[in-house]
């Protein structure tokens, strides 16, 4: 037969759990110890927390300055006049490049003009030469 259990039975309100002997004193000591460690950490504060990060930043800064100094010391210096010449040359090359690339390859108008030149009738060319160039020049071309 099933036994009827009443939840309000005082026996059920009893605490069946136990703890190891001396646990509560040990727990109080542990908490006190952890708190004193936290207090110590709070006192040293930001400096202690930021020390490793600051060391890392300083190390990187030092490496950067050493590298920068080495680069400046060992790289040969270029005078100002050389720089002007160089920049003028650069400008010339740049302009030439622009001309060659854009005019030669992309200027459609220029292409059609060249085609027109090629299609001039030959008798017109001969009459032009005979009118404008003397005989001496013609003989030197032969």
């Amino acid at each position: 037969m099933k036994k009827k259990i009443n939840i309000e039975d005082p026996h059920l309100k009893e605490n069946p759990f136990t703890v190891p002997q001396g646990y509560f004193n040990e727990m109080k000591n542990n908490v006190a110890e952890r708190i004193s460690v936290t207090t110590g950490a709070q006192k040293t504060g930001i400096i202690t927390i930021l020390r490793p990060q600051a060391a890392l930043i300083s190390a990187f800064a030092l490496i950067f300055f050493i590298g920068y100094a080495a680069f400046t010391i060992f790289t040969p210096r270029v005078s100002e006049s050389e720089i002007t010449v160089l920049s003028a040359d650069n400008q010339f090359i740049e302009e030439g490049f622009l001309k060659t690339t854009f005019i030669d390859f992309f200027d459609i108008e220029a292409e059609t003009q060249t085609e027109e030149i090629h299609t001039l009738p030959s008798d017109e060319v001969i009459s032009y030469i005979s009118e404008n160039i003397d005989i001496i020049t013609l003989t030197s071309l032969e």
Binding site: K2, K3, I5, I7, H11, L12, K13, E14, N15, P16, F17, T18, V19, P20, Y23, F24, M27, K28, N30, V31, A32, R34, I35, S36, T38, T39
Partner: protein
């Protein structure tokens, strides 16, 4: 020493540690049993209790006495424990096991449980409750706290707490009827 005196002592320069040790002395045991009945294991209860006190220690300078010290400590302990249970449940879900069943096994194997069969069944039934309901039931049943105090701890209305306790009570009774 009452809570007001303890808090005044805590605010005195250089007496924080002493005052806090008195608080631990006053509430440590009570909070331990509250946590222990929620998680069943002594080791987990010990860890959670220490975490509770460490959190209370760092938050106490900002404590404005809008609630009483004891309900405030209960609140920290309950939140800490419920977060722990949630994580344990999630872990159990990933390993495809039942968290309640795990707790029951833990209780059966616990060397620090000296109860008889009825008490074992009763505590198993409590461990089967959803964790928030379990906390409400324990605070009302074992700690005999008023619904107003439980409301201060849990931030839930008195009406909702009464309903929760009633549901928990019914579930436990049904479980006991089936198992014993």
């Amino acid at each position: 020493m009452d809570d007001k005196d303890l808090l005044e002592l805590f605010r005195e320069e250089g007496k924080e540690n002493y005052a806090f040790n008195l608080i631990v002395d006053k509430y440590g045991e009570r909070l331990y049993w509250h946590i222990r009945k929620l998680v069943a294991s002594h080791e987990d209860a010990n860890d959670l209790l220490q975490e509770t006190f460490i959190k209370a220690w760092s938050a106490l300078p900002r404590f404005r006495e809008e609630s009483r010290l004891y309900t405030w400590l209960y609140r920290i302990a309950t939140n800490e424990t419920l977060t722990f249970i949630k994580k344990a449940k999630l872990k159990a879900m990933f390993s495809l096991s039942d968290h309640s069943r795990q707790l029951e096994n833990q209780l059966e194997a616990d060397p620090y449980f000296n109860g008889d069969n009825t008490q074992m069944a009763f505590h198993k039934a409590i461990l089967r409750l959803p964790h928030k309901q379990r906390a409400v039931f324990n605070m009302r049943y074992f700690d005999e706290m008023s619904y107003e105090d439980i409301s201060e701890v849990s931030g839930t209305s008195v009406g909702a707490l009464k309903a929760s306790y009633h549901h928990a009570y019914q579930k436990i009774q049904e479980y006991l009827k089936e198992t014993i």
